[in-house]
């Protein structure tokens, strides 16, 4: 039986490397992926992600990240990494983080987490300049991550 997969692209489409997740999604859209795959533009979703995340077997989240690594580096993370990276406390001035979204879905909607959650986070170099394109290293990483996801599907 085929696996139901959702690919969720996060980020801001007009903020340089922060658009990496959206750009990966745009690349995937150019392929015929079949009915078991759903591509979702999460954008800067926040709480809206509670409704956007589907009941699926496998959830692949693509986003930008800033850890101080080389720009374009791809971090493969899981939910455990989100838990260890931060205490579970809402201090963002605006929206809940991913972990909070997962917990809300479980607590309120009785929706279990997808069996497999893969977070592909692309190390960003510039997330403060308004631009519809990424910096060169991140651009290359976008292509790599799109290929990686295509191989996965």
């Amino acid at each position: 039986m085929s696996i139901k997969t959702q690919v969720l692209g996060l980020g801001n489409a007009v903020l340089c490397d922060d658009s990496a997740g959206i750009q990966v999604l745009d690349r995937l859209k150019q392929h015929a992926l079949g009915p078991e795959v759903t591509l979702t533009m999460g954008g800067t979703g926040g709480l809206a992600l509670v409704d956007m995340i589907l009941d699926c077997d496998r959830l692949v989240i693509v986003d930008a990240i800033m850890t101080g690594a080389e720009p374009g580096a791809v971090h493969k993370l899981g939910v455990k990494d989100l838990e260890s990276a931060m205490p579970f406390h809402m201090v963002s001035s605006h929206g809940p983080g991913l972990l909070e979204i997962f917990r809300l879905r479980e607590a309120l909607l009785d929706l279990p987490l997808p069996r497999e959650i893969i977070i592909l986070a692309i190390e960003a170099a510039d997330t403060a300049t308004l631009s519809e394109t990424c910096t060169p290293e991140v651009e290359k990483a976008v292509a790599r991550v799109a290929d990686q996801i295509l191989n996965m599907l």
């Binding site: 922060d18 979703g45 709480l47 406390h89 001035s93 909070e100 997330t127």
Partner: protein
């Protein structure tokens, strides 16, 4: 040597908000600076684009109030072409926009503000979030929060194509009408939103106002500032989010000015400080006298409470009752208590829900004439709406082909910049004594600016998706205390 405390949500992107608190030799607060990093290349990004592209692009600049940017940008583009949009288009935009306000206010109150009260400012940080709130109010309320906020998003999606990245509004009106089926769907959702808005106000009564400690916090002096207020009103001086004139009231509640949004530059100046990119809008009639409250200072505040303060009431019955309750509770108008912004937000949420229901049942709402095509030579225009967080001005200049040559935005958070700085300073003054600061203090200082629902960390969604918070206390140049959240 003075000490320095820094509260810094640092790794987020557009936001990069940071609060510096400078202490004197005795360890008491001397000064307070609230800083954000500005996005780069905004003018260049906009220049040379067709003006009709801006309503599609502007919502992406801010990930939190895309609906507000979508509307302000559409209105500015209408003005650039000198277009009066068809009545159905205006009603659909208002319907969209009231749904946007409701979504934003529900999100802010339940996900961000309420956990400060329920379970409370001194609670374990691990519980001070929406899940901790649900532990207290119950899962049914939690589900209602998610469901009704979702309805407000869905309505925006029906009218403008996407809830987070709306595209349906453009110069002259909208790209499509709504069908009768969609109207019925909206009407059903609106009924639920009106019910939920009343529940939300009841929760505020029962869990916040009925608690003597929180009542004292809201009515007390810690977050109190007598300032001017500005906000949009309709022809009857009632609150309006989408259209109207800007009314300014003084700290005693007397009208100082009432002007069409196109005159904003005559009334609002922008003071620049060397230590921050964010400008300080002020009332030109009074002048910039520094970050001070009182009638001699040109500092004014926007957002929910400001709108209620400058208006004569609400144009819907349930919201009017809630408006009367708020001012009745304080026994005065204007209300200067900063934490009452939260209460005012819930009053406005009820108004927005009632407006959604009213517009969804308007006979014209399914009309097919939703766009007036631009025919005039484009030149210059100003559009403004009340964003959830306060008045948002878009001002565009184009060449005769409609290509953008100049853009000026004044966003709500900038207009509250001085107010936020004052509130944080006052909270810090009361809470930091002799250099002593603890985790609860961090939250109490945060509460000072959270009341304004500022747009700090909004333009992006970079992982990990939360803003770290850092407080550093320096004594004679040495780091002596380090409090942090969400930092490695």
């Amino acid at each position: 040597m003075s000490q320095k405390i820094t509260i810094s949500p640092i790794t987020r992107l557009e936001g990069h908000g940071k609060i510096d608190i400078l202490l004197d030799d005795d360890g008491n607060v001397k000064d307070c600076y609230f800083q954000v990093v500005e996005l780069r290349g905004f003018e260049r990004f906009c220049q040379g684009r067709p003006v009709e592209e801006l309503p599609r692009i502007m919502p992406k600049i801010c990930g939190v109030c895309p609906g507000a940017h979508h509307m302000a940008s559409s209105k500015a583009a209408d003005a650039v072409y000198g277009i009066i949009i068809p009545p159905t288009a205006k009603k659909l935009r208002e319907l969209f926009y009231n749904a946007h306000i409701s979504h934003s206010h529900i999100l802010h109150f339940f996900a961000l503000a309420a956990p400060d009260f329920i379970p409370g400012p001194g609670a374990d940080p691990a519980k001070r979030n929406i899940l901790g709130l649900i532990d207290v109010v119950g899962k049914d309320i939690g589900r209602a929060v998610i469901r009704n906020r979702g309805y407000a998003q869905k309505i925006q999606e029906i009218i403008c194509g996407h809830a987070i990245h709306p595209v349906g509004s453009l110069p002259g009106g909208l790209s499509k009408p709504i069908t009768e089926e969609e109207r019925v769907e909206i009407e059903i959702m609106a009924g639920s939103m009106v019910d939920f808005a009343q529940t939300a106000l009841q929760i505020f009564q029962d869990l916040v106002l009925a608690n003597p400690q929180y009542k004292e916090l809201i009515t007390g002096d810690t977050y109190y500032h007598e300032t001017y207020y500005a906000g949009m009103v309709d022809e009857n001086n009632k609150v309006n989010f989408y259209d109207g004139k800007i009314r300014v009231k003084d700290p005693d509640g007397q009208e100082l000015a009432k002007f069409p949004v196109s005159d904003y530059l005559e009334h609002i100046g922008e003071h620049v400080e060397p230590w921050t990119y964010l400008k300080f809008p002020f009332l030109k009639a009074i002048g910039w006298k520094g970050m001070k409250d009182g009638r001699d200072s040109g500092v004014y505040r926007v957002n929910s409470l400001a709108r209620l303060n400058v208006s004569d009431g609400m144009s819907t019955p349930l919201a009017q009752k809630a408006y009367d309750d708020l001012f009745g509770f304080f026994g005065c108008k204007p209300v200067h208590n900063t934490l009452a912004f939260h209460w005012a937000r819930l009053v406005e949420n009820l108004f927005a829900a009632e407006e959604v229901l009213r517009l969804a049942t308007d006979p014209e709402i399914t009309g097919k004439d939703v766009r007036t095509l631009p025919t005039q030579t484009p030149s210059e225009g100003v559009g403004a709406v009340e964003a959830a967080r306060g008045t948002l001005y878009h001002h565009y200049v184009t060449d005769s082909a409609g290509m953008v040559t100049k853009v000026n935005l004044i966003v709500a958070t900038a207009q509250n910049n001085a107010g936020m700085g004052m509130s944080v300073k006052k909270a810090a003054e009361k809470l930091i004594k002799n250099g002593a600061a603890d985790d609860k203090l961090l939250n109490m200082v945060e509460m000072g600016f959270r009341a304004y629902d500022p747009c700090l960390a909004c333009a992006t969604h970079c992982l990990p998706g939360q803003s770290p918070l850092e407080v550093r206390i320096f004594k004679q140049g040495q780091l002596v205390r380090h409090l942090s959240r969400n930092l490695d």
